[in-house]
Symmetry: C2
Subunit: 217 residues, 2 copies
DNA sequence: TCTATACGAGACTGAGCGGTTTCGGATATG
DNA sequence: CATATCCGAAACCGCTCAGTCTCGTATAGA
């Protein structure tokens, strides 16, 4: 499930069938998966049709069904192959304070990507409750990377002595993601910088035991 | 939109048509609406079919379509007519401390109802983004009552001097609902008392500026 | 060059579902 | 008792969509 673009559904034994004819063009795989993710983000799982994905990727439906046996498998692979384009470990801020690190994550680029991922997550509801595989893939690709970043920031703050060592890292790391998801998906309001700043200064930092010394509002 | 069980779709002018024959049995309205809410909570808007609702309510499809012109109207009315059975103003705790009030809300009955409502909210995603009417009804029936309770608790704490007057009530009131929605809908984990207690003691109270004096963990 | 396969485009099939209609029976008005 | 409407049950219609198949073209290996 974790290998790149499926492919392993057929051919149980390895390669003793050197088939003739034109080879499958595997450069289309990621293009189709990207198209699927886009449609998924716009329409949700139920609203998404294979024809939409095919049109978006300028591919034929048969080309899609030659690679994935069903719509559910396509979506599962598309979600599993989502790369955390931003928030790569080497591009993360390290400002020396928890607030600095958290605020440094508030950038148009990063917010946009977060909104996109949460929209995808919203589109997966319904399917997520009937497919544990999909639920796991979505958590792994969408939620977990963000939580890992928050945990890193918190752990560094603890190591610096900025935050008490007995603070509940796992819970605090979920505050930003949880409240962002609530605002976007439930309250249907944009994830603007003001909201995120309030979240940091009025919830996360106080909960981490950091006194409000440098308020900006 | 706010009156009880629809009925006003027909008869633009009031009652100059005293029609003959058997009268419509309006005691079936809430039974059908309840059935719709149940199916909605189990299957979501897209997974729900009118036949499911009819079967659950032991009614004919025609009986449903005689009262609501479409599936969307049925769901809208069902959501709008949802009563906040628990959390009626006179049944709310008033323990004298913010923590006491919040902890007093953690009861099996209340948790179960909260899970139910959040499941319904999850089932409405997708539809909620295309129907502002439904989005408003869902917010009004499911989210707002809970936020109002939290705001009340916070305001009383401020009036008592327990919490600083400049605290961000609107944001803090959203923490419990937002984090609960995240845990249930995104992380697919139960809303147990331990989680809610951690939320209160490690996030909400510190964010409200109340020092951790009586920890229970 | 010949063969087997992949490709995009699109026709086709079968199932599911929203919504309508029909049917036999019940019920309130007159 | 007659009439008009209601009821539950279920047949029916029209459309959408997942999944298959066909067609004309392109391409890799023998």
């Amino acid at each position: 499930m974790a290998q790149s673009h499926s492919t392993a559904q057929l051919d149980p034994e390895a390669g003793p069938t050197p088939r003739l004819g034109r080879k499958r063009d595997h450069t289309r795989d990621p293009e189709i998966l990207d198209a699927a993710i886009e449609v998924l983000a716009e329409s949700g799982f139920d609203g998404m049709t294979i024809d939409m994905v095919a049109a978006r990727a300028k591919a034929g439906k048969a080309t899609i069904y030659r690679r994935w046996p069903s719509k559910a498998d396509l979506v599962l692979d598309a979600v599993a192959c989502m790369k955390a384009a931003d928030l790569a470990p080497e591009r993360l801020p390290d400002t020396g304070t928890l607030r600095g690190d958290l605020v440094a994550m508030i950038r148009p680029r990063s917010i946009e990507e977060g909104e996109r991922k949460l929209r995808i997550m919203g589109g997966l509801f319904g399917m997520i409750s009937t497919s544990p595989e999909l639920a796991a893939a979505a958590h792994q690709a969408i939620i977990e990377p963000r939580l890992a970043v928050n945990r890193l920031f918190l752990q560094r703050a603890i190591d610096r002595g900025e935050v008490a060592a007995d603070c509940d890292i796992d819970l605090l790391a979920r505050v930003a993601s949880g409240m962002s998801a609530f605002r976007m998906l439930v309250e249907q309001q944009p994830l603007d910088a003001d909201y995120l700043l309030s979240l940091i200064d009025h919830v996360i930092l106080p909960a981490a035991g950091i006194a409000p010394e440098a308020r900006t509002d």
